[in-house]
């Protein structure tokens, strides 16, 4: 494993903000495919950081014991926004900017913008394929899933199927994606999978382990690693849905949402998912029920809700293609 600092800017208080890349070179002089794994662009999303830990640890062992397994090159950026990770903050803390809303910006004029500029160039220089790890936002916990923007689905769905996620969600383009890493790499013809798993500021190691197994399988299926005869990998066959096959359940009332279902559960139409409570008057404001039968793949973690707040998402099993 070769460690390289790809971004470095100094703090006035001493020390530097450094983005590190760990590279596992191909065993042969002429490498096959090259892949990049990146985590922690949002400093409060930790499942991907853990998955990168598992990858680095596993690959270091593999490099020692079976170096010929490396047919391609693997590049891992385990902490793409180290200052934000150290502060457990989505945004780069001193600058107040979202690193994953700065990609593709011309004439960058701040350290986070310069970092995204250089990071994008570095990933492009060493990748034929990329995986960007994210978690749910502050409020919602997500079952491991891959989100694909319409138009990139033909190329990405076959790759996404190798990743041991529960769901592949093909959704329409929105302007919010214009300045993200995933969109900019895909637009540059580097197929990039955006994986969402877990919730901000928490770590669900089971999710991280699930995705780790998927990443190993992806590495084998793309020929970057040769299969390990000792440890065969069995992966989940994901549900593949588009936005019309997903029920979004939002709160009609503000209050305290108490869940009555668990993430990953197969719910039946009419099942109770939770209640919205009025803690001041002691009333149950709303009983939240599933409008369809399917996979509960998003569930609210932060109980405080305003009207319109997302409470859950369910993928219809009827329409999805296993």
């Amino acid at each position: 494993m070769e460690t390289k600092t790809v971004i470095d800017y100094k703090s006035p208080l001493g020390g530097s903000i450094r983005i590190i890349k760990q590279t596992f070179a191909a065993h042969n002089a002429k490498p096959g495919k090259r892949i990049a794994f990146l985590a922690g662009l949002h400093g409060d999303e930790l499942e991907g950081v853990y998955t990168c830990f598992r990858l680095i640890r596993h690959l270091r062992e593999l490099e020692k014991n079976r170096p010929e397994a490396f047919q391609g090159e693997i590049n891992i950026y385990p902490a793409a926004n180290p200052q934000a990770l150290g502060s457990a903050s989505r945004l780069a803390p001193f600058f107040g900017t979202d690193m994953n809303r700065l990609f593709g910006v011309e004439n960058p004029d701040s350290p986070p913008a310069l970092s995204t500029h250089e990071l994008l160039a570095d990933i492009k220089s060493c990748s034929d394929l990329a995986v960007d790890f994210h978690a749910g936002n502050l409020h919602l916990k997500e079952l491991p899933q891959i989100r694909i923007i319409e138009g990139f689905d033909k190329k990405l769905i076959p790759l996404a199927r190798h990743c041991n996620v529960d769901l592949i969600w093909v959704h329409p383009m929105s302007p919010v994606f214009d300045s993200t890493l995933g969109f900019n790499l895909n637009r540059s013809k580097i197929p990039t999978l955006v994986i969402e798993a877990g919730v901000c500021l928490r770590l669900d190691a089971d999710f991280g382990d699930q995705v780790f197994r998927g990443m190993l399988y992806l590495l084998q299926q793309t020929g970057i690693l040769t299969p390990d005869p000792a440890t065969g990998t069995v992966i989940e066959n994901p549900l593949v849905v588009n936005s019309s096959q997903i029920a979004m359940i939002n709160a009609n009332q503000p209050g305290l949402f108490v869940k009555h279902a668990e993430l990953g559960q197969r719910v039946i139409a009419g099942d109770k998912l939770g209640e919205v409570l009025d803690p001041i008057q002691g009333n149950v404001l709303e009983e939240v029920v599933s409008p369809l039968t399917g996979l509960l793949f998003t569930l609210r973690e932060i109980p405080i809700t305003y009207a319109g707040a997302a409470l859950a998402r369910i993928a219809s099993e009827d329409a999805g293609m296993r």
């Binding site: 006035p12 809303r101 593709g104 409020h139 302007p175 300045s179 939002n250 405080i304 305003y306």
Partner: protein, 322 residues
């Protein structure tokens, strides 16, 4: 005339209610929309909106005898109510930038609903003005920023009497900002920037108020018995006319120039010191003569951060003849 535009119930207190002030003289079809308070730390916009409201109420009630309201003018003084109440740039509940959520979503989260409402109320405007301040850590001299400057928009900018207009380069990161969303809807959109966050710069605000009233007269939204609204000499700057001065070393920055200064080439703008030794680590000089439009206000500075923006002197001033 104060009108409620949105009421959203809150789980633990008073409803969140947003207002606009609207005056319609009924003599023209055009609408001018003015928006402040998109971020919770931008106080200048609140002040400008409230003083303009005071003025327009006086005109409407015929206490300002020389003026008459002819068109429709609407002012939205507060958008990000929750962040303003908290005294922070973003609302901690979601930690999101309000000005990265347009055009919003009627059925979405609270911020999306508010952005959707604002777009709905302003979509048929002829002109839109966003009141803003310098970004965090910077002070800005009052100036105008616009996308895609055409003859008509330049004319409006000139009537605002600020003297300085900067073109905003297209960037994917700006696509979900209010100003951009207005621009793509063919609304003549202008960002008025002055001062710094978390502070009220009354002198700068007075410049804005005077300019906006002049613009209202020049465009016919209000009439004046003796004036038609002056159009001042205005210089238009493209990105290539701007010079960014960045820190090569981190440190504690102290300025020696002030925003609004006309700098000579080689003039010292400030210096930075090492925090631990107090020694000067870097001096900053104007690389070119020009106008100091943006200057760092916050002393701690990272390597590669911006110290200042200078609008370069032009060999022949490009004034706009109308």
């Amino acid at each position: 005339m104060k009108e409620k535009i949105l009421t959203l119930p809150s789980p633990f207190g008073d409803s969140i209610t947003l207002f606009k002030n609207v005056w319609d003289g009924g003599k023209m079809l055009d609408t001018l929309s003015i928006v402040g308070g998109l971020h919770g730390n931008q106080i200048n916009g609140l002040y400008v909106a409230s003083r303009l409201t005071q003025f327009l109420n006086a005109v409407w009630e015929e206490r300002e005898k020389a003026y008459r309201i002819k068109g429709k003018i609407q002012i939205f003084p507060v958008v990000n109510l929750q962040a303003l109440q908290a005294g922070t740039r973003f609302w901690s509940f979601d930690g999101l930038d309000f000005d990265m959520a347009f055009p919003g979503n009627e059925n979405g989260e609270l911020n999306e609903k508010i952005c959707h409402t604002l777009i709905n109320h302003t979509a048929d405007s002829t002109y839109g003005i966003v009141l803003s301040t310098g970004t965090i850590h910077y002070e800005d001299f009052p100036h105008i920023r616009i996308y895609r400057p055409d003859r008509s928009l330049k004319k409006i900018a000139r009537s605002l009497d600020f003297g300085i207009v900067r073109e905003i380069p297209e960037s994917p990161a700006n696509n979900i900002q209010l100003l951009h969303q207005w621009t793509v809807r063919d609304i003549g959109s202008l960002l008025l920037v002055c001062g710094k966050a978390d502070a009220l710069a009354r002198d700068h605000c007075d410049t804005l108020i005077k300019g906006i009233i002049n613009m209202m007269v020049a465009t016919g939204f209000i009439s004046h018995t003796g004036e038609k609204g002056q159009k001042s000499e205005t210089t238009f700057y493209e990105s290539s006319d701007e010079k960014r001065i960045a820190a090569k070393q981190p440190g504690l920055f102290t300025p020696e120039a002030r925003v609004g200064d006309t700098l000579k080439q080689g003039q010292r703008i400030g210096l930075s010191r090492d925090i631990y030794s107090g020694e000067v680590v870097e001096e900053f000089f104007a690389p070119t003569g020009g106008f100091l439009v943006t200057l760092r206000d916050y002393p701690l500075i990272y390597e590669k951060e911006t110290v200042a923006w200078i609008l370069m002197e032009k060999k022949s001033l490009r004034l706009w003849p109308f």
